[in-house]
C-alpha cells in the first residue's frame, strides 16, 4: 500500500512539474542550399541559437521548443513540397522560407492549415494578399523602398539613376516600388537592368551602366550576385555612388566582394552593427557559437523564435489557432522581452514597424550613418 502511494505521488509530481511536458514543435523550411544558401544558413543558425537560449531558461510556459529544419534548395517548388510535409506534422508555428518567391507559393498552404507563418521574405505583395497567418521579420519593400528613393533623391542628389534588379519576385517587387518613387520625386531612371538569379558574369550589365553614366546606381540583387556586380563595377571603374538595401551591404557580401564593397550604401532594417546593445550581445553570442558574424538573416531567424515566445507568453497558453490573432496589432517591447532586440509593432497585415538604419561600408565594415525612428 505504501509503495503504491509512493509510485502514485511520483507520477503526479512528474506530470505536474512539466519536466516531461510535451515539447512545442516548430517547423522551419529554409534555403539551406542553392542560390539562397547564405540566407537560409544564417536564418537557421539564428533560429537554433534562440531556441538554445530559450530552452536553457526553461522554455516557453515551461515547455521546451523543438524545431525541424527542411531544405527548400532555394527552389519555390521544393519549398512548397517541404512546407506541405512540415504542415502535415502539425507544427505550432511555421518558420520560413526566406525567399519571397518561396513564401508566395507556400503562404496559401499555411493559411489553409490555419498555422501562423513567420517568414523572411521582403516582397511588397506578400502581405497585401489578405493572408491572416503571414508575418514578416523585416520590413516589406513598401516600407523600405520609399526611404531608399528619398535618400537617393535628397541626400545623394541624384538626378539620373541606373536600377539593376534580379528577375524574381523579390527583385521585381523592389524595382517596381523604387522606380515609381524615384519618378514621383523627379529622379530619372536612365538604365533599368534586369539580371538573372545565380548570374556569374556582370560585365555586360556594368557596361550598360557605364554607358548610361548615371548620378547613382541602385543595386537590388541577392547576396552573391551583389558581390559579383560590386567586383565588376570596381573592375570597370564605375565611380557613381552605389545605393541598395540590406542585400547590397550584408556581412556575406562584404566578405565576398572585399574592397569592392567599400563605399556602397544601403537602407537596413536589421544589422548586426546597429548601435543597439541587445543586438551587439546577439552578435557576440552568434559569432561565438558559429565562428562568423551573421548578416540580417541571422537576426531574422533569431527574432522569429522570440516572436513565437512573446506571443505565446502573451496568450498564456500554447494555441496555434489563436496565435495569429494575438500577434496582429501586438507591440513587443525589448524591455519586456530582450530577445526581440528592438521595440516592434505588428500590423493587421503582418507587416512590422521598427526603427531602421542607413549604413555605409567603410573599410570592410558596416558603419551606421543615420538611425531612422519607428514610424508610430
Amino acid at each position: 500500500m505504501k509503495s503504491t502511494l509512493l509510485v502514485g505521488a511520483l507520477l503526479t509530481a512528474i506530470t505536474t512539474t512539466g519536466a516531461f511536458a510535451q515539447a512545442i514543435k516548430l517547423a522551419d523550411v529554409a534555403e539551406l542550399s542553392g542560390g539562397g544558401a547564405t540566407v537560409g544558413t544564417n536564418w537557421k543558425n539564428g533560429i537554433d541559437l534562440a531556441i538554445e537560449e530559450i530552452n536553457a531558461k526553461g522554455g516557453v510556459l515551461g515547455r521546451k521548443l523543438e524545431v525541424t529544419h527542411a531544405d527548400s534548395q532555394s527552389n519555390p517548388g521544393v519549398a512548397r513540397a517541404q512546407v506541405q510535409k512540415a504542415l502535415d506534422a502539425e507544427p505550432y508555428v511555421l518558420l520560413g522560407p526566406g525567399y519571397s518567391g518561396s513564401v508566395k507559393v507556400t503562404a496559401p498552404l499555411a493559411a489553409e492549415a490555419g498555422i501562423a507563418q513567420i517568414m523572411g521574405g521582403e516582397a511588397a505583395e506578400l502581405t497585401q494578399a489578405g493572408n491572416k497567418f503571414l508575418f514578416r521579420t523585416s520590413f516589406g519593400q513598401q516600407s523600405s523602398m520609399p526611404k531608399v528613393a528619398k535618400y537617393i533623391h535628397d541626400d545623394m542628389k541624384a538626378k539620373s539613376v541606373a536600377v539593376v534588379w534580379v528577375n524574381n519576385d523579390f527583385g521585381r517587387g523592389g524595382r517596381d516600388v523604387v522606380v515609381k518613387e524615384l519618378d514621383r520625386l523627379g529622379s530619372k531612371v536612365v538604365a533599368d537592368l534586369s539580371t538573372e538569379a545565380g548570374q556569374a558574369d556582370f560585365a555586360a550589365d556594368v557596361g550598360k551602366i557605364k554607358a548610361a553614366n548615371p548620378d547613382a546606381v541602385f543595386v537590388y540583387l541577392n547576396e552573391e550576385e551583389s558581390a559579383r556586380i560590386l567586383k565588376e563595377l570596381k573592375r570597370q571603374g564605375v565611380t557613381a555612388p552605389l545605393m541598395g538595401e540590406t542585400t547590397l551591404i550584408g556581412q556575406k557580401v562584404i566578405e565576398l566582394a572585399g574592397d569592392a564593397a567599400n563605399g556602397a550604401r544601403g537602407h537596413v532594417g536589421l544589422t548586426t552593427d546597429a548601435p543597439v546593445d541587445l543586438i551587439k550581445t546577439f552578435r557576440d553570442k552568434f559569432a561565438k557559437k558559429y565562428n562568423y558574424v551573421p548578416d540580417h538573416n541571422g537576426l531574422k531567424g533569431y527574432l522569429a523564435v522570440y516572436m513565437v515566445k512573446a506571443t505565446t507568453d502573451k496568450m498564456g497558453k500554447v494555441d496555434s489557432k489563436a496565435f495569429a490573432d494575438t500577434l496582429h496589432g501586438l507591440t513587443i517591447k525589448a524591455a519586456d522581452e530582450p530577445g526581440i532586440l528592438m521595440d516592434v509593432t505588428f500590423s493587421d497585415t503582418g507587416d512590422i514597424d521598427r526603427q531602421s538604419f542607413l549604413v555605409e561600408v567603410v573599410e570592410g565594415k558596416q558603419v551606421v550613418k543615420q538611425v531612422l525612428p519607428k514610424v508610430k
Binding site: 558574369d201 560585365a203 555586360a204 559579383r228 565576398l256
Partner: protein, 291 residues
Amino acid sequence: MSNLFDLLVAGLATGAIYALVAVGFTLLWQTSQTINFAQGEFVMLPAFLMLAAMHAGAPFWLAIILGILLSMLLLGLAFKMLLVDPMMRHGVLPLAIATMALAIGLKEAVKQFFSAEASPFPSIVPTGDIAILGHNVSLQSIGVLVLAILAVFGLTALLNRTSLGHQMQAAAQNPTVARIIGVPVERMILLTFLINAFLVALASLLITPIYLAKFTSGEVLGQAAFIAAIVGGFNQVRGAIAGGLLIGVLDNLAAAYVSTQYRAAVPMIFLIAVILFRPQGLLGRAEERTV
C-alpha cells in the same frame, strides 16, 4: 564605341577561360573518346583545394602549387584509373553517364565538406586599370586573357613542335599504328589527362576570383565550354580555342545588345545553327575520326 571595346575585352577574357576548359574536352575526346560531362566541376574543385590549403595555413603561392598538383593527381591520374579505364570497356555512352554521376558526386562532396555558401577567392592578377588604345581596360581582364593565351600557346607548341606532342597526336589519330611504331600510347593518354587537369586548375585559378568559389560554379562553365568545343570543332584544339573566345564574346554582346534575359539562349541558338549547317564545327574536320 568605348562600351563595345570594354565588352570585347571582357568577353575575350571570359572566352579565354572557356577556351582552356574546351581544349580539355577536345584532348580527352581525341585521345580516349571520353566525353567528360564533369568538366565544369573539374574547374570548380581546384579552387576549393587551394582554399583548403590556405585554411591549413599555406600562403597563396604554395596553395596554388598544391592545388594544381592535387588536381593533376585527382582529376588526372585518379579520374583515368578509377573511372575512365574501368568504364571505357563498356563503351562511350556508359562512360559519359558515369562522368555525369561524377559531376553530381563532386558538387555534393564540396557542399558537404566545405559549405553550400560561396567563398571569396584571391586574384593572382592585381586590380586596377591600364590604358590601351585610349581606353581604360581592367588589369584583371588583360591578365586573365594573357595567362589563358600563354597556356593555350604553350599547349599548341607542345603538340606541334615537340616529339612528345607528335607522339600524343599519333596516339590520338591512330593508336594501333602508333603502337606498332613504338609510341607508348597508354602513357600518352595519361599525359592528356594530366594536361587537362592542369588546364582546368588554371581556369579555376583565373575564373574563381570573378565567379566566387561555390559548389555550383562549374555548371555554367561546363556548359559554356561544351558548347564552345562543339562550335569550334570537337576534334581540333584550335577549334576549341576559337569556339571558347567566340562564345565568350557572343555571350557578352548578346547581354548588351539583345537582352540580358535571353543572353543564355543566344549561344544555344548559335550551337543549333552550327550543328545544322556545319556539324563538324567551325574549324573541325569531318573525316578525322569515325565513331
